[in-house]
């Protein structure tokens, strides 16, 4: 058998270590800064020293510890979940326009929550209106979570597993449309429901409780090792599925595993915060430009990037029309949409 020429490698593979480190450092700085601003800024003005004292537990301040801190942590965790799933789905479907909701999880969550509100609606309209984020957080989030997971399971069932990627996308579109239709039907039954569900579909971080933060953190911790494990698989997938299999990767199982962890994360995120658009699409896309396409770095970077993006978008949602607030989903869509168009336009100019 042949042996490699006896040359010592002069350059290591991790040639781009410095730009990668500085990108991670910049993201962490933005995250810290956004977090501090998120704790400090609000309808009630609280001096910075008091914010610090409340954080350290030296002084009791429920506005900081019960409202702003879970909101900031929620934004970070939801953004990280969407960034991770977005990056993983873009790799799995080998499509830079894939987003975490591609396989129907958003439509499923919306349907689940609408169903929860419809069931609660039997009690009273006013109650239903608050049911989602106010008085019935656990049941509504559970319905949202189960709706998202159920939609993805249905898509997997319809496309006969994960082996044919195109079938997954098609089934995702079909299941999504049917669920949107059913959701619309339920919403038409009662104007109050329309309002509550509409608020949910726009996405909102204002109502995340400590319980929600705990559940999001749990799902992230549970799935993070799997994402770290799957970086190499996603890298190999850029060569095409056949080549990836020829390299020895047990692709069918790995794809199911990937869809599983992405679905859990996305379902947890939408159940807590509603359907927040563009974060899972833009964060991986921008970071791919900055860091290159190695998923072993891109996945953790997209988690950080999604967190930074959503944290600052939520600040925008609180500042732009103060003292009122915008749903954060509107901010991410209004900022993310044009920015994404700009990226595509620049790309087209670069490659002609």
């Amino acid at each position: 058998m042949h042996t490699p020429a006896l040359t010592t490698p002069k350059r290591r593979v991790a040639a781009g270590l410095l730009p990668r480190l500085s990108a991670f450092a910049a993201l962490l700085v933005l995250l810290g800064l956004g977090g501090l601003l998120g704790l400090w800024y609000g309808a009630v003005q609280i001096p910075a020293q008091e914010v610090l004292r409340a954080l350290l537990g030296w002084q009791d301040n429920p506005i900081i510890t019960e409202l702003r801190l879970p909101r900031v942590l929620g934004a970070i965790l939801v953004g990280a979940a969407l960034g991770l799933s977005g990056a993983a789905f873009q790799g799995l479907f080998r499509n830079p326009l894939a987003d975490p909701y591609l396989m129907g999880s958003a439509a499923g969550a919306a349907f689940g929550v609408t169903l929860a509100v419809s069931l609660a609606g039997g009690l009273s309209g006013a109650f239903a209106q608050h049911a989602i984020f106010g008085f019935l957080p656990s049941s509504a989030t559970w319905f949202g979570f189960l709706g998202a997971v159920g939609a993805v399971l249905l898509v997997l069932l319809l496309s006969g597993g994960a082996s044919r990627t195109h079938d997954l996308i098609l089934a995702g579109v079909v299941v999504g449309s049917i669920l949107v239709g059913l959701t619309s039907y339920l919403m038409l039954q009662d104007a109050d429901r329309v309002r509550a569900v509409f608020a949910y579909t726009l996405g909102n971080l204002a109502f995340i409780s400590w319980q929600g933060v705990g559940s999001l953190a749990g799902y992230l911790l549970l799935t993070l090792p799997v994402f770290l494990l799957l970086g190499r698989t996603l890298n190999a997938l850029t060569l095409g599925e056949e080549t990836a299999r020829s390299l020895g990767l047990p692709l069918e199982g790995l794809k199911l595993l990937l869809i599983g962890v992405c679905t859990l994360l996305t379902a947890a995120a939408v159940a807590q915060a509603g359907i927040i658009g563009f974060v899972g699409l833009v964060a991986p896309h921008v970071l791919r430009r900055l860091l290159g396409g190695d998923y072993r770095y891109l996945l953790p970077a997209s988690a950080l990037g999604g967190a930074v993006l959503l944290l600052w978008a939520d600040l925008g949602a609180r500042v732009l029309v103060a003292p009122a607030e915008l749903p954060v989903g509107i901010v991410t869509t209004l900022l993310g949409g044009p920015f994404f168009l700009y990226l595509l336009w620049r790309e087209r100019r670069r490659y002609g």
């Binding site: 042949h2 593979v13 190499r232 850029t238 095409g240 080549t243 020829s246 390299l247 020895g248 290159g292």
Partner: protein, 266 residues
């Protein structure tokens, strides 16, 4: 020809061998009763009209598809008995339209070829980095190792994908129409690279469309409607009666420097 005895009494050739191979897809027979083998250090060209089953045969030999009849043997053992990692270490496969990564550098793409040796988590060790250097050097792509693939010419890109396949230091290399989108110069350059790899003991199988390119191989296997029509030295296989039977009466075979040259006249 060296043959190893096999447990079921059938003599299985060394190297990568198809034994009485058959494959059906949705009740349609794509391949039937096909036997051939690829020896270490030889270049075998697979020739045949569209739909003759060339690509299917390549996928069967790569272990990506399971045969419906017969079996593929790798060095005397059924290919199905190898782990997927061991299979990936022995056989490298380069599909025709596999696509290429747009956001990875040349070096990162070639390093992906080490996957069969690394498993899911493994980091590149000293042996992996040496193999990487070797693959980059063999294919002459080391000079632009830090560039991304969209910035390369078609010929350079194809050499990078070859380097990816070589990085696993496979014993057999299966390539599906590797010269398809290359101009005349780059076709010659690419096939020259392949010819050079034979001396390292690598067994190479290429699916090719053009009989004139296949004429440069050590042996040619001619496939027609899922069966082996002819197998042997290019000068024997690429004869006028056979090619006229397949491609029509306009085919003329000439000889230049002992090599058949195929022309088609309308």
């Amino acid at each position: 020809m060296a043959r190893l005895p096999h447990s079921d009494g059938v003599a299985i050739p060394r190297g990568l061998a198809a034994h009485n191979l058959g494959f059906s897809y949705r009740h349609k027979r794509v391949l039937e009763g096909l036997s051939l083998h690829l020896e270490p250090g030889e270049w075998l060209a697979l020739l045949g009209p569209n739909g003759s089953g060339k690509s299917t045969l390549l996928r069967l030999l790569a272990g990506l598809v399971k045969p419906t009849e017969g079996a593929v043997y790798l060095e005397g053992r059924p290919l199905g008995s190898y782990s997927s990692w061991a299979r990936g270490q022995a056989i490298a496969f380069l599909p025709q339209n596999g696509g290429y990564p747009e956001d990875l550098t040349v070096e990162e793409v070639v390093a992906l070829g080490r996957t069969p040796h690394l498993g899911l988590l493994g980091r590149l060790g000293k042996a992996d980095l040496e193999a990487l250097e070797w693959a980059l050097t063999q294919t002459q792509v080391a000079a632009f190792r830090h560039r991304r693939l969209p910035t390369l010419s078609g010929g350079e890109r194809q050499r990078v994908l070859l380097a990816r396949a070589l990085a696993a230091q496979p014993r057999f290399l299966l390539l599906d129409e590797p010269t398809n989108h290359l101009d005349l110069h780059h076709q010659a350059e690419f096939l020259g690279l392949l010819a050079g790899l034979r001396s390292l003991g690598l067994g190479i199988l290429t699916v090719l469309h053009d009989p004139n390119l296949a004429a440069r191989a050590d042996r040619v296997a001619f496939l027609l409607e899922g069966s082996l029509l002819a197998l042997g030295h290019p000068a024997e296989v690429l004869n006028q009666p056979l090619l006229r039977r397949v491609y029509g009466p306009g085919v003329q075979v000439h000889r230049v420097k002992d090599r058949p040259v195929v022309l088609l006249e309308e």
